[in-house]
């Protein structure tokens, strides 16, 4: 067990109680005495911006519903089904001219249907959605072959305009998705922004924090461990697993597991794309057409797909070959200045040139950079608890060692808020023979030291 090294936690160079003195900087957060702008005008500007977004969302939503969703809904719910007869067929060409004067054509089968409405014969060309057109004439012709002149067919006509007839029903889910997604996002963004503007209208940040806090308290009750210790994360998940030798077994937060999950997800998704591409190319070849672009794409995609599978299995092999690590501790949550027993158990048959167990303090800050949300982590304090050299496991027996952990007497407690975290953890770092380095992390929660009265001064008032 290493003794506490006090030099790492240096005392503050400034006198206790001395105010922080800073040089003026242009882009830092403003602190101290200051006159603010006109918050009401700021809220008004934000309110106008979000109202514009809300109105845009509603307008686009109404247009898309009227143009896409409502006609499709009417076909499925209001059109009347009748038996008809195919009396004519042909190809309809749709020409789309671009701004440079070029033309793009699309084709679709056009079918003349005869059907009876209230004793009267009606003849009409069928109506199709633009998504049912084909960019190749040959494909549209091929589709046209499926329709037999004089054949009976089911059709649906519009009771409000009996000349409008369709030959199939159903919904295009992606059209509905488009119709709802874009305006839905705008409406959601606008409404949330408007609510925020209303909430901040004429209110200071302290007042908002108090009112928000009260709202949240009515919906959630904090876990028992955090009662009386605001901002200290709950440690329910760290004390629900009893150890075999010591009181608690700590769960692991292994970065290897996350990289394995990441590699697996990437490999799975990439290879799905490769399979779809290969199936498409296969159909093309079977149909006597070979798309050289697709064939050219397939080769590098397949190489990347195979490499990702190999990487995934390599990671899986590394994790399973090295074996699991267990850490048990005699008490939890931890308190500054206290001593704890820690049991380290490393299973597997791999020999290690070096195994090191550390106690670390890590800070984590989440911030916005442009439109990105970034998280930065920094280990700000590290203490080596024990190092073992040339660890040779015995067959069928894990490597086990019990060590003492001394927490610094003036250690910071664990702290977790929306954007900032200060967390303690036990970290095992190993250098196996012939394998890449191993890092396994076991989070712990540190509470403030037991209350010692600091009331040793004479009150001023």
């Amino acid at each position: 067990m290493e003794a506490e090294i006090p030099r790492l936690f240096e005392s503050a160079s400034r006198l206790p109680g001395e105010l922080f003195v800073r040089l003026p900087t242009f882009f830092s957060k403003k602190r101290g005495n200051r006159r603010t702008g006109l918050p009401a005008w700021g809220s008004l500007g934000e309110g106008i911006y979000h109202t514009v977004l809300l109105m845009a969302g509603l307008t686009i939503g109404v247009l898309m519903l009227a143009g896409v969703a409502v006609p499709e809904w009417r076909i499925n719910n209001q059109f009347i089904e009748v038996n008809g007869r195919l009396i004519g067929k042909g190809l309809a060409r749709h020409t789309l001219r671009d701004v440079f004067g070029g033309a793009k054509y699309s084709w679709r089968p056009a079918l003349l249907v005869q059907y009876e409405v209230e004793g009267e014969d009606v003849e009409s060309w069928n109506t199709v959605h633009s998504s049912e057109t084909s960019e190749t004439r040959a494909f549209a012709l091929h589709e046209l072959d499926d329709w037999e002149l004089g054949g009976q067919l089911r059709c649906w006509y519009d009771p409000d305009d009996i000349k409008t007839v369709v030959l199939k029903q159903g919904y295009s889910w992606w059209l509905w998705l488009l119709a709802l997604l874009l305006p839905g996002a705008l409406v959601a963004f606008g409404v949330t922004g408007l609510l925020q503007s209303l909430q901040s209208w004429g209110r200071s940040e302290e007042r908002q924090a108090v009112q928000f806090g009260r709202i949240f308290e009515t919906f959630t009750s904090p876990p028992p461990e955090t009662v009386g210790f605001p901002t200290i994360p709950a440690c329910d998940n760290l004390v629900n697993s009893p150890g075999t030798m010591l009181r608690f077994r700590l769960p692991t937060e292994s970065p290897e597991a996350w990289s394995l999950i990441g590699a697996g997800l990437f490999s799975g998704l990439w290879n799905v794309v490769v399979i779809l591409l290969a199936v498409n190319v296969g159909f093309d070849i079977a149909g006597g057409r070979a798309n050289l672009w697709l064939l050219g794409l397939l080769a590098p995609f397949t190489i990347v797909g195979l490499a990702s599978v190999a990487l995934f299995f390599r990671q899986l092999f590394l994790i399973t070959a090295i074996g699991p690590t267990h850490v048990e501790i005699s008490g939890h949550p931890l308190r500054p200045g206290n001593q704890y027993q820690v049991l380290l158990s490393q299973a597997g048959s791999v020999s290690f040139r070096k195994l090191e167990l550390f106690l670390e303090l890590e800070e984590q800050a989440t911030f916005r950079q442009g439109t990105d949300v970034r998280t930065e982590r920094q280990v700000v304090w590290q203490s080596l608890i024990r190092r073992w050299n040339n660890v040779e496991p015995l067959p069928g027996t894990p490597f086990e060692a019990e060590v003492q952990l001394q927490l610094p007497s003036k250690a910071m407690h664990s702290f977790s808020t929306t954007h900032n975290t200060v967390s303690w953890r036990l970290v095992l770092r190993g250098v196996p023979e012939r394998w890449p380095a191993l890092v396994r992390v076991f989070p712990v929660v540190v509470f403030p030291a037991e209350i010692v009265s600091t009331h040793n001064e004479k009150p001023l008032s």
Partner: protein, 162 residues
């Protein structure tokens, strides 16, 4: 001058750009060092401002984070005092600026956490805030730092080799 005209001019006067007030806060500990569960008692004075130009005063005890991350804020004490407009007051010129004092006191029990912390990318500060709202819509805020706990400043490099 009739009563109504006096009120109108006084209203206009309250919308003038006011000089920044001076806000001083006195703590019940000389070294402004507190522990979790201790009682914080402070007394504040707002000076150098016409009291009739103030619409409200908010006083609060808060902690906030500084550093690389977005700011997180916690409020352990908050009180807003809405000031009534004194309609019977007479107009005062800038030459005869009122030296009225706005004073107040607050007391609250401090929580066990979070303790004041001076890390590398995360810092936690405690302060008493006095926020003065002017009738013009602007406000002036004054922060007075104190310390909860005695966690030492973290300094890099921090790697230990034994």
């Amino acid at each position: 001058m009739t009563e109504s005209k006096r009120v109108d001019q006084n209203t206009l006067g309250s919308y003038r750009i006011q000089p920044n007030p001076r806000i001083s806060v006195t703590f019940n500990r000389e070294n402004i060092q507190y522990g979790g569960g201790d009682e914080l008692r402070t007394h504040y004075i707002v000076e150098g401002i016409e009291s009739q130009s103030i619409s409200a005063v908010e006083r609060s005890v808060v902690w906030y984070t500084e550093g690389k991350g977005e700011e997180d804020l916690g409020v352990v004490f908050f009180e807003r005092i809405q000031l009534e407009r004194r309609k019977d007051s007479t107009q005062t010129s800038s030459a005869s600026l009122s030296t009225d004092h706005l004073t107040g006191a607050l007391a609250t029990d401090l929580p066990q956490s979070p303790l004041s912390y001076e890390g590398i990318i995360v810092k936690i500060r405690w302060c008493v805030r006095v926020r003065v709202f002017f009738r013009s819509g602007r406000d002036f805020v004054s922060e007075h730092i104190f310390f909860l706990g005695s966690v030492p400043v973290v300094r890099l490099p921090a790697k230990i080799e034994t």
